[in-house]
Symmetry: C2
Subunit: 444 residues, 2 copies
C-alpha cells in the first residue's frame, strides 16, 4: 500500500491501516510535516507559529508496518504499477492518491508571482513577511500616493481562506500594529476583498454570506462581490475600469487539483479532479484510490466539499475498504457525513452550519469553530500551544505577536524622505556630543 | 540620538533613554526584531520556535520619544555626522554603534557557503532544515559510505555556541529522532566538535573545560581539540592529514566585528573592534559611542567578554553618560560587573562561573543557566512559551519537536535504492488490488 500525500486524507488512511497486521504502508510526501491548513492564515497574520499547526509525519506515523518517505511524486504508471518519484520509483499493489489541490489562477499562471496563494508553511511565512514589510516601507515612504499604495492590501477570492485572511489582516492593522509606527496610522490601511461571484462564502447559505459581509465591513474590510480581476502586476490590480494601486496582492481563489492525477489517464472534471467510483477508486483502476481535494465526489446531486472533514472521512473509508477486501468481505460505498463547516470573520465571531441544519453566527459559531479546530489538531502539544496563543491574542488584542521579518528586506526599502534627512527642530546642539533630535518629532 | 543595532546593547540604551524627556531617539536595525541570540541554537535543534526568542523592536520600544527605522546601515560619515543607510542618510548629534559581530572564517570567506554560522533566525531555520534533511537523505541513501557521510555532523569551534549545538544535536539523534526512521539508526550518527585551541570553552576555567569535554563525550560527541581545519567543501572537512566525510558542517568559530566601525576611521583590534575610551566612545569621537561585541574593552588587564550581560551594561552606561552630559554633570567611566557566564551541555546539565567566583557544573549550573535565560528574555510571553517548550522537551526527551523542513528539499534527495524499487517479501498479491508490501520490511 502506497499513500501519496500526508494531508488530512492520506494521514487518516495511514493511521487506520497502521493497526492492520497484514498490510504494509509507505507514505510519500514532499514535505516532512503534516500541515493543518485551515489555520494557515493565522501564521500569515502573525497569530500562530509554524510548528503550532504542523507535525512531522514521521512522529505521527510510528506504527511498525508504516514507512515514511520524503519524495516528490511525479507521475503514476498504472500499467507497471509504480509511483514515479524524483530520483526513483516505488511499486505499489494499491495506491492512495491524496495530493490535494492548489489555487487556480484562471489561465494567468504569471499572476502566481505577484499574488501568492496560501498553501504551505513557507507561503504563510512569506506572506507574513510581505504584509509586515509593506508597513515598514509605508513608514519610510515620503510620497503620500506611494505610501497609500503600500498600505493597500488586496485579497482575491472570498472563500473561507480569503474571508479569514481579510478579517485577520484588517484586525491586525487596527489593533496589533496600531501603536508601532510614527509616520503612518495603520488604521488607515485598506483591506479590499475581491470576489468574482455575487456573494462571499459562496458554499454557505445566502443568509450567512450576507452576515459575513456585514461583519467584514464592520471590521473595515472593503468587500466587493461580482468583481472580475483582469490584470495584476507589481503596482496594482485592475478590476473592470478601476485600477487599485497596491503593492500587496494575496490570492485565495479557484481550485486546481494536484497535477499528479493527470498521469492516471482517467477523465477529470474542470478543476482537474478525478470523478471517483463509490469505492473512491479511479474509474477502471480498482487499485488506485483517489481521495480528498483531488477527488470529485457527488452525493445526492451535491458535490462533497473540499474541506478537511471530507478528506478525513475518505481516508478512513479507503482503509476500511482495503481491510474488507483483504478479509474477503464486500466493501461498502462511501457516504459523506456533513458535520458542518465554519469560517471565522474576526475576534470572537464566525459563521457556519452545523450538521447541515443549524445555521450559526457570532460568538456561538466562533466557539464551535474554535473547539472543532482544537480537537482536530494533531497532538496535545499543538492543541495546548494554539489555545495559549489564541488566549494571548484575544486578551491583548493582538499584542506582541509573531510579527517577524526574518529575511533581510532592509536593502529593498524605499528611499528615505528628504525631510527626514535634515536634523529636526530645536533644541539645537549646545555641545557637539549633546544628544538632541536628529529627525522630525514623532507624529503621535 | 541615533542607535544602530537593536541587540542587547542597543536595546538597553534605547529603553533607558525612552524615559528621558529631553532626548529623541532613533533606533536603526536591518531586522524588525530583537533576537535573543544565546538560545538561537535551540531553534536550530528544533526545541524552540523563532518567535519564542525574538520580539518585534517596535513592540518593545513604544516610548513617545523613540522612533524605529528598518534600514541597513552602510557607513558613518563622522565629518558630516550622518549615518549612511541603504536609500538615505540619518544625521545624528550623537550615535551609538551597537551592530555586533559575526563569525570569522579566518581568511577563508568561501567556507561561509558550506559551513554556515548561527547568527540570525534565518540561519537557525536553515541549519535546522539542513540537519533534518541530512537524516532524510541518509534514510534514502543506498550506498553505506554515503549514508555514513550524511549521518556525520561536524561543528567547528568549541566556544559556547559550538558546545551547546553539539550537545543538543547529539541528544536529538539519540532521543527525539530515534524512532522516526526505518533504514537508519539515528543513534549511529556522529557529531564531531573541532576546536583549534587546546581545550573547549577556552574562556572558562580549565577545570570546567575538562568537565564540559567529559560531559560532551558522555553524550557521544567526538570532541577534538587542537584540531586545525585546512579545507572544507561539499564532501567533507580536512583536519591535518585526516579527511572527515560529511555533508553537514556548522561553523561557530572566531569573532569578526561588524564592518560598520571601519568607516569611523579609528584604530581597530585584530577582531575589527574599536578600542573604546572609558566612556565607551570611539577615540577622538566623543559623540560616537561603541558598545557590545563591536567594542574592545579592557578591565584590570582582562578583556570584557562578548556576552549579552556585558553589552547590556554598556548600553545602560551610555544612556547614563548621555543624561549626565545633558544635565551638565560629569559622566563616570564604564565598569563591567561580571555576573558570570554559563554554557549548557545537555538535558539538565551545564557548566559556568557565577560572579567570577563560584564554579558550577551539572544540574545546579543548568538551573542557574535556565533561570537567568528566562529572566533575560524579552516579555512575559516569550518567557512562558520558552518554559513550556523546555518542560515539554524535558519530559518527552525531545518528543515531537519543531522538526520542520519548510522548503521543498524533496527534489534534492539521493536516488532511491534499487533494492527498494522491487516489491518486498511475501505475502504476494492475491488480487491486483490487494494491499501488500511494496518495499522491504521495516528494519526495526
Amino acid at each position: 500500500m502506497v499513500i501519496v500525500g500526508a494531508g488530512f486524507g492520506g494521514l487518516q488512511a495511514a493511521k487506520a491501516l497502521g493497526k492492520a497486521r497484514n498490510v504494509r504502508v509507505t507514505v510519500v510526501d514532499r514535505y516532512n510535516h503534516h500541515l493543518f491548513q485551515p489555520l494557515l492564515y493565522q501564521v500569515a497574520t502573525s497569530v500562530l507559529n509554524t510548528a503550532d499547526i504542523s507535525a512531522p509525519i514521521r512522529s505521527i506515523l510510528h506504527a511498525r508496518n508504516t514507512e515514511v518517505l520524503l519524495a516528490e511524486a511525479k507521475s503514476v504508471d498504472v500499467h507497471r504499477k509504480v509511483l514515479v518519484v524524483e530520483g526513483g520509483e516505488i511499486p505499489y499493489d494499491s495506491l492512495v492518491v491524496a495530493t490535494g489541490a492548489s489555487h487556480s489562477y484562471f489561465k494567468h499562471p504569471e499572476w502566481a508571482q505577484v499574488a501568492p496563494g496560501l498553501k504551505t508553511l513557507d507561503d504563510a511565512v512569506r506572506i507574513r513577511e510581505r504584509i509586515l514589510t509593506a508597513f515598514e516601507a509605508a513608514e519610510r515612504e515620503p510620497d503620500p500616493v506611494r505610501q497609500r499604495q503600500w498600505m493597500t492590501f488586496v485579497i482575491i477570492g472570498a472563500g473561507p481562506t480569503g474571508v479569514e485572511l481579510a478579517g485577520a489582516l484588517s484586525y491586525m492593522t487596527r489593533h496589533g500594529l496600531r501603536r508601532d509606527f510614527r509616520h503612518i496610522d495603520t488604521r488607515e490601511a485598506r483591506v479590499i476583498l475581491l470576489e468574482g461571484l455575487p456573494r462571499v462564502l459562496n458554499a454557505y447559505p445566502e443568509e450567512l454570506s450576507e452576515e459575513a459581509k456585514l461583519d467584514l465591513e464592520e471590521l473595515h474590510v472593503d468587500v466587493r462581490t461580482g468583481a472580475m480581476v483582469t490584470e495584476i502586476d507589481d503596482e496594482g490590480v485592475t478590476v473592470g475600469d478601476e485600477h487599485i494601486a497596491t503593492k500587496t496582492v494575496l490570492w485565495g481563489a479557484g481550485v486546481a487539483a494536484s497535477p499528479l492525477v493527470r498521469s492516471l489517464g482517467v477523465p477529470l472534471d474542470r478543476a482537474g479532479r478525478v470523478r471517483v467510483t463509490p469505492l473512491l477508486t479511479a474509474p477502471g483502476l480498482p487499485d488506485v484510490y483517489v481521495i480528498g481535494d483531488v477527488a470529485a465526489v457527488e452525493q445526492q446531486g451535491k458535490p462533497v466539499p473540499g474541506i478537511a472533514p471530507a478528506a478525513m472521512q475518505m481516508g478512513r473509508h479507503v482503509a476500511k475498504t482495503v481491510l474488507c477486501r483483504l478479509a474477503g468481505k464486500p466493501p461498502r460505498a462511501f457516504r459523506y457525513h456533513d458535520k458542518g463547516s465554519f469560517a471565522v470573520i474576526g475576534r470572537g465571531f464566525a459563521v457556519g452550519v452545523l450538521y447541515d441544519k443549524w445555521r450559526m453566527k457570532g460568538l456561538p459559531a466562533w466557539l464551535v469553530w474554535a473547539g472543532v479546530h482544537i480537537a482536530y489538531l494533531i497532538g496535545y502539544r499543538n492543541r495546548l500551544f494554539v489555545m495559549l496563543n489564541w488566549g494571548y491574542t484575544f486578551i491583548t488584542r493582538g499584542g506582541r505577536n509573531m510579527r517577524l521579518i526574518t529575511s533581510n528586506v532592509a536593502k529593498r526599502m524605499p528611499v528615505l524622505a528628504a525631510s527626514r534627512q535634515v536634523p529636526g527642530l530645536p533644541p539645537p546642539p549646545v555641545r557637539p556630543e549633546l544628544p538632541t533630535a536628529s529627525r522630525p518629532a514623532p507624529v503621535h
